[in-house]
């Protein structure tokens, strides 16, 4: 329950009865809940900094839940999405999961399944939140590296020993060691293995950004 503190379950469903019923159940289970009657209302009212997960009805007249999911991704709002539907057909489920939905629940809703799914979503969101925060810090620090230090970090990420790096760059072994100590200091890595992990994370983030 501690995990769900300051986190909100955002319910988007066109049916007022379902919306209010789910809200009642989740509140009785200790969740903070906010309800929206349509995808548009959610996009208008949701504050990007709020944490939690979205409980989304697949089947809504104006714009479907899948549309809203696409829109969230386009806006890089990394809220986990759980779909609810009375039309739990396999193609819809597959499409939703492919698009990154965390889970898929059929009406009428089984309480344990719903609450379990929400727990997992919030856990995921937690992890995602911590990782995202660490990554942001790492990138901020990496920004202070000189071009030469950045070059050396890339080679460290490939797990090259200092001697090879020196030969590769045509500098002395000693110079490599000095650069490396600067890098460790700037990034705040405690061990060599941590540095390697950081280097890999940065590299894959760069690749992801580029793509």
């Amino acid at each position: 329950m501690s995990k769900s503190e300051n986190k909100t379950v955002f319910i988007v469903d066109d049916d007022a009865g379902v919306r209010r019923g789910l809200s009642f159940l989740l509140r009785s289970a200790g969740h903070a809940v906010e309800t929206f009657a349509s995808a548009r209302e959610f996009l208008e009212r949701y504050d990007n900094t709020r944490r939690g997960c979205v409980l989304l009805d697949v089947w809504m007249p104006q714009s479907s839940g899948l549309d809203l999911q696409r829109e969230l991704q386009a806006r890089s709002w990394d809220l986990p999405v759980i779909f609810i539907t009375g039309h739990g057909t396999i193609p819809t489920a597959i499409a939703a999961l492919r698009a990154g939905a965390l889970d898929f629940i059929e009406k009428p809703i089984h309480e344990d399944a719903l609450l379990g799914s929400i727990e997992r979503a919030l856990d995921w969101e937690d992890r995602h939140y911590v990782e995202a925060a660490a990554m942001a810090e790492l990138r901020k620090r990496a920004a202070s590296l000189t071009p030469r230090e950045r070059e050396i970090l890339d080679l460290v990420a490939q797990a090259e020993p200092n001697k090879i790096i020196a030969q590769h760059l045509g500098i002395s072994f000693r110079t490599v060691e000095i650069h490396r100590s600067h890098i460790i200091e700037k990034l705040g890595a405690k061990t060599t293995s941590e540095l390697v992990r950081m280097a890999i994370a940065l590299e894959s983030a760069t690749v992801r950004d580029a793509s």
Partner: protein
């Protein structure tokens, strides 16, 4: 006119002339009896005026052979010409001018013939005798005597022989020839002719002696008897036989010319009387036979009609019935006659039908009950009319058993109801997915509320207001599901159709409850244009809802299949002429194709891939059963409008 026939005719003519050549005045063919001219007239009437030539030849031959004195060629030729022309013209006039029937079927035919037998010989006689007077063979002083003898001789010759020949000819022509066969009738004929012979014997025999005139009237008795019993057919034979007897008597008694002439006048009167009486009797027989045949025909028709026909008198007692009545009421005729008609027929309107407006024309009454003797009843349709029978006012009742028709109607109605129900099941099946979704919503809400309440109950501190709110909402949502279930159950009812008074808006509301899921899920804009103050309808509401739902779903499918942008359905209800309520469903879809429109309401017409094509056909029969008509019109802006108008209920 075959030569052989001419020869035969000539031979017969000469023979007859020879036989009757009695007391010829002045030695030429002026005799008191000329049966040969009877033959001539009969032949001319049957064969036509061309036989006048044959007659000319025959008279010529006869005069040459029989004349007792030498006659000049000119007088001979002229005399024959007069006879041939006179009777030729007379017969031809009869044939042409008066629709004369040579079979002497009507008394008027006989009268015409007798009239001709009187006038033609008069003219012929004067001309003929004048010719001979001119030649000097007959002195002018005896002209009157000669002409009158000629006249009487020919008139009676024609009156006796011509009808006989015509009747015998007709008798011979009927195939098979009718000969009386039963011995009683033959016996009667024998006795009749025996008494005729006896009468002749009395008149001319020892009793009459030398004063035969005295007893001549006795001859009337057998002749009238024969004519009265045997008709014209008997009369002609009797008259001929009497004449024959008379001639024989002349010969035997050697009567004077004056007596013979007197006898012939009496004979003429006798012949005319007998023949006319015979003709009247024949006519009456024929009329009676025709009447009885028409009565038999009428009776056989009455026997054959499947409807019961009852005649009652002014005291409402049954006077006559046809066999159908016996069948209908399973009772024999003799147990029906004289009974009171109300023992058999009952109904609220029976007084009016039995008293009913006078007049032969049928008055169609409503439905009544027929009661059999075992007290079982059956539905009948009653028609009545008034008739006078034997100058007594009667009412004629025509009864038709409508039990079979009722059964057929009931069966047809049951089929229609069953078909409509099957169609509703089919509609419900097609809507199942949308309805399931619509039911899932409140169920989801109910489960969520109740689960939430259970959670609240597990907590230490009871939050009663929250619990109440949750349970209230759960009940509300369960009721919402209940409404849908009820609508569906009502819609799928399989009971007998029954009519009730209902608001138009209520019908439209119920239809929208069922159609809303599909409308909402497909994003179809729905508009209602319901005029205020509509009269109520008295209808089988489920069937009318079925029609309306069918139209709405057709509109939805048409627009979805055509991928219509901004799909919209308008349901309108307003009052039209004669307090009729018109309900219309319009869409903005592709409309109805020309080739489909012409057979739109026929069964098995469909444009849907899985459609049976029964929806509109059933809808139309439902609307028609409610006194309306289902129609399709094309909207000017595209799409179709289906509408029907039903009679509004007059009361509040």
């Amino acid at each position: 006119m075959k030569p052989a026939a001419v020869v035969l005719f000539t031979a017969s003519y000469v023979s007859l002339d020879w036989v009757s050549f009695i007391h010829p005045l002045h030695g030429i063919g002026i005799t008191p009896w000329s049966p040969a001219d009877g033959l001539s007239v009969a032949v001319l009437l049957v064969g036509g005026y061309c036989w006048a030539v044959a007659l000319f030849v025959a008279t010529l031959v006869s005069s040459l052979l029989l004349a007792e004195v030498p006659v000049g060629v000119g007088a001979l030729l002229l005399g024959s010409t007069i006879i041939a022309a006179g009777y030729g013209i007379g017969a031809e006039l009869l044939r042409r001018l008066w629709h004369f029937s040579v079979s002497l079927t009507r008394p008027s035919d006989l009268i015409l013939l007798l009239a001709m037998a009187l006038t033609a010989p008069a003219l012929v006689a004067m001309a003929y005798v004048a010719v001979y007077a001119t030649t000097g063979l007959v002195p002018w002083s005896r002209f009157g005597e000669a002409a009158s003898q000629f006249w009487i001789g020919d008139a009676i010759g024609i009156a006796v022989l011509a009808p006989f020949l015509l009747v015998v000819r007709d008798w011979l022509q009927t195939r098979p020839i009718e000969v009386p066969r039963d011995s009683l009738r033959l016996g009667e004929i024998f006795v009749q002719f025996a008494s005729l012979t006896l009468a002749l014997f009395v008149v001319f025999g020892p009793i009459g002696g030398h004063e035969p005139f005295k007893f001549f009237y006795i001859l009337f008795l057998p002749l009238i008897w024969i004519a009265a019993r045997q008709g014209l057919a008997g009369a002609v034979w009797a008259v001929l036989a009497t004449q024959g007897g008379l001639i024989l008597a002349f010969r035997l008694h050697d009567l004077s010319v004056a007596d013979v002439r007197s006898f012939q006048l009496l004979m003429y009167a006798l012949a005319v009387t007998t023949l006319l009486l015979g003709a009247m009797v024949s006519e009456r027989r024929r009329a009676l036979r025709a009447l009885s045949e028409s009565e038999k025909r009428l009776a056989s028709i009455l026997d054959a009609v499947p409807d019961g026909v009852i005649a009652i008198d002014s005291a409402e007692r049954i006077q006559s019935v046809n066999p159908a009545v016996e069948r209908l009421f399973s009772v024999t005729k003799d147990r029906l006659l004289g009974r009171h008609v109300r023992d058999l027929i009952s109904g609220p309107d029976v007084d009016r039908m039995l008293a009913g407006a006078a007049g032969p024309c049928g008055e169609i009454g409503g439905e009544f009950l027929g009661r059999r003797s075992d007290d079982t009843t059956f539905p009948i349709e009653l028609t009545t009319g008034s008739q006078h029978i034997d100058d007594q006012p009667h009412r004629i009742l025509v009864l038709r058993d409508i039990a079979l028709r009722r059964q057929a109607e009931t069966r047809a109605r049951a089929h229609q109801i069953e078909l409509a129900r099957v169609s509703r099941v089919s509609i419900a099946g097609q809507m199942a997915s949308a309805l399931a979704h619509e039911l899932n919503q409140p169920l989801t809400a109910v489960i969520a509320y109740v689960r939430g309440c259970l959670r609240l109950l597990r907590q230490q501190s009871l939050q009663l207001p929250l619990l109440r709110e949750g349970l209230d909402e759960a009940v509300h949502q369960a009721e919402r599901a209940g409404i849908i279930i009820n609508r569906l159950r009502e819609f799928l009812y399989d009971g007998i159709s029954h009519q009730s008074s209902i608001e138009v808006s209520e019908i439209i509301g119920a239809v929208l409850d069922l159609a809303r899921p599909e409308l909402v899920q497909n994003g179809i804009d729905t508009r209602l244009l319901i005029s205020p103050g509509l009269p109520r309808l008295v209808v089988d509401r489920i069937q009318i809802e079925q029609v309306l739902l069918n139209l709405v779903r057709n509109a939805i499918e048409a627009m979805l299949n055509a991928h219509t942008r901004q799909p919209r359905i308008t349901i309108a209800a307003d009052v039209r002429q004669l307090n009729r309520v018109r309900i219309a469903v319009s869409d903005v879809g592709p409309g109805v194709a020309e080739d489909v429109a012409s057979r739109l309401f026929e069964p098995f017409t469909t444009t849907k891939p899985q459609g049976m094509g029964l929806g509109l056909s059933i809808s139309r029969s439902i609307v028609q059963a409610h006194g309306g008509e289902l129609e399709m019109t094309r909207n000017s802006a595209g799409g179709a409008t289906f509408s029907f108008a039903l009679p509004g209920h007059a009361g509040p």
